[in-house]
């Protein structure tokens, strides 16, 4: 696919400290971002026809944490959230996801995740990026969230608590998001953990048509107003879990809003 000139322009407008080689201090490369977002941008607009609502809630500058739900299959939702930050924000922002550890172990996966700023989900990475006033993208459901089956696509599994402690410690606002469509794009009927072990990944989703290639369904992402919590990050679990539940409840509301909006879009457009 030819590189999209408009994407090149967006990448040039990212407010990241790139050097003369077009590489930032974390190894994020303009060249790789342009290629990745040329492909993702096409998928975002034409294949998944993503509708992003509430983008104005994402701070234009400074540290922030996008916290959302996984909607099934694999981290398709994460890739489309990244793309919405790139295509729809003014100025564009690069969201940096906290990737599963196995990705950096795989050839190609290691290279592309490193060059596009999608680092392994280590506390050290998360804290450093926030202290550098970056935009972090976190899915507190983790791999349990991407392993959701088709019938579970709108549900939320248990959230980890690390993101709240980190937000408190680094005084970072949390921007909640609800994503729908991923579960329809990759309608998982079962997850093959045996095949996953063979390929060096946690599991391989299996769909009614066998392969886990995504279907061209429309997706919807709704961003909510930033949530700010006061504290040091050293609070008791009960306090932290209370904050986690507030974020989780807000995400559940955003999922419902996104479902309603998607249904009405589908009625109007007659699409899936």
């Amino acid at each position: 696919m030819a590189k999209d000139e408009a994407v090149k322009d967006l990448v040039n407008r990212l407010e990241l400290p790139f050097n003369a080689f077009g590489v930032d201090p974390y190894g994020i490369s303009k060249k790789h971002l342009t290629t990745a977002f040329s492909i993702l941008g096409w998928l975002y607009r034409n294949y998944f026809r993503v509708n992003a609502v509430g983008i104005e809630h994402v701070p234009r500058r400074g540290r922030a944490m996008l916290v959302g739900n996984h909607s099934g299959g694999y981290a398709l939702d994460g890739a489309l959230v990244l793309t919405s930050m790139m295509l729809e924000m003014e100025p564009p922002r690069l969201a940096q996801g906290m990737a599963e550890k196995f990705i950096n172990q795989l050839p190609i996966g290691s290279l592309w995740s490193s060059r596009t700023g999608q680092f392994t989900g280590l506390p050290e990475h998360a804290e450093r990026l926030l202290e550098d006033d970056r935009l972090l993208m976190v899915f507190p459901e983790g791999a349990r969230g991407t392993a959701k089956l088709y019938k579970e696509r709108y549900s939320l599994v248990d959230f980890g608590t690390g993101f709240i402690r980190l937000a408190l410690k680094t005084k970072t606002p949390i921007v909640p998001l609800g994503f729908v469509g991923g579960g329809d794009a990759v309608p998982t009927v079962l997850n093959s953990y045996a095949l996953g072990r063979l390929l060096g990944v946690p599991y391989v989703p299996v769909t009614p048509y066998g392969l886990a290639l995504p279907l061209p369904v429309s997706c919807e992402v709704h961003y909510g107003a930033p949530m700010r919590f006061e504290g040091s990050g050293d609070e008791d679990d009960t306090v932290i879990k209370g904050y986690v539940e507030q974020v989780k409840a807000r995400i559940a509301e955003l999922i419902e809003a996104a479902r309603a909006s998607r249904r009405s879009r589908q009625k109007l457009g007659g699409g899936r």
């Binding site: 050839p107 290279l111 392994t120 990475h125 450093r128």
Partner: protein
């Protein structure tokens, strides 16, 4: 200040010696290897650090500061002898320093202390333990020497100890791990991986060590300069051709057809980054690099163009 440099015949140590001399310090050197055209005024003692003659230098010359640059770092060098030099030599430096009134010992170690592995973070800080020794046991002696030097900070509180974890160097000497890796026109990379590499131009590395001596910076410090750069970019910007080879094939080729005989763990170092945070050293000494990554690679390209 009277400064003794152990391992003075290495390319980097020579530059440190010249810099210190130029700044008015008295410089002595110890090495098993000769430095034949050593400038006048730099006295060289050709002996093994672990021999009696080396201790005599401490006893009779009474240096105020000792810079330990006599560790063997090459990934190709292995075995018991390397371990004896690195660990035994470091022990000898500290024992002689304490016995003969040295005030400041600088251990010049490497950032490879932190190890390269898929799950280690970018920007290591000095309080982190080493990662990845399991996959690369051949580095254990350098890690042991670093930790031995570091524990002098509490074992010998009256001695000022500096442990420097220096990134790779590039420069006119064309020596060192990274330079060895860039020796050929075609440079093998592990297909699908492209780690960040951090390097200092030799003149900056020498200046950093000199500053550590003059500022008597006590503690453990990562020493780095410009931002890290992907390895493939280092290869192309220095005029070489990167040749990505699938990992299983590269493993099979090691030690054959002109490929270096490297321990299997060494491949982790061209798959995953070791990137350090050098803020503490900059704060303690005021060090800033003069040659940035773009200029360093351009200059290295010119230096090595055939």
């Amino acid at each position: 200040m009277k400064v003794l440099i152990a391992g003075i015949s290495s390319a980097l140590a020579r530059q440190v010696a010249m810099l210190l001399k130029g700044r008015g310090h008295e410089v002595l050197g110890l090495d098993r290897r000769p430095w034949r055209d050593a400038p006048e005024g730099i006295e060289i003692f050709q002996t093994d650090l672990r021999k009696r003659a080396a201790e005599d230098v401490f006893r009779t010359r009474k240096p105020e500061c000792v810079i330990h640059m006599a560790t063997v770092n090459a990934l190709t060098a292995g075995g018991d002898e390397r371990a004896r030099i690195n660990v035994g030599g470091t022990r000898a430096i500290f024992e002689h320093s304490i016995a003969h009134g040295v005030k400041h010992v600088i251990f010049v170690g490497r950032h490879t202390y932190y190890g390269a592995s898929a799950d280690s973070p970018l920007y290591h800080t000095e309080d982190e333990p080493p990662h990845g020794i399991g996959s690369f046991p051949e580095l254990a002696d350098l890690v042991a020497a670093d930790l031995f030097a570091a524990n002098a900070l509490w074992r010998q509180p009256r001695l000022c100890t500096s442990v420097l974890r220096l990134v790779y160097t590039l420069g006119p000497s064309q020596q060192g791990t990274l330079a060895a890796f860039l020796r050929g026109n075609r440079v093998p990379l592990v297909m699908g991986y492209d780690p960040l590499f951090q390097f200092l131009f030799e003149s900056d590395a020498a200046r950093a060590i000199t500053l550590a001596a003059e500022q008597r910076a006590k503690g453990i410090f990562n020493v780095c300069g410009p931002n890290p750069v992907p390895l493939s970019m280092i290869v192309t910007q220095t005029g070489r051709t990167p040749v990505p080879v699938p990992e299983p094939l590269l493993r099979a080729l090691l030690g054959r057809f002109g490929f270096p005989r490297l321990p299997p763990g060494a491949l982790e170092h061209i798959k995953f980054p070791i990137v350090v945070d050098g803020r503490a050293f900059k704060k303690a000494t005021g060090f800033t690099h003069e040659v940035d990554e773009v200029e360093a690679l351009q200059r290295y390209r010119l230096l090595t163009s055939r």
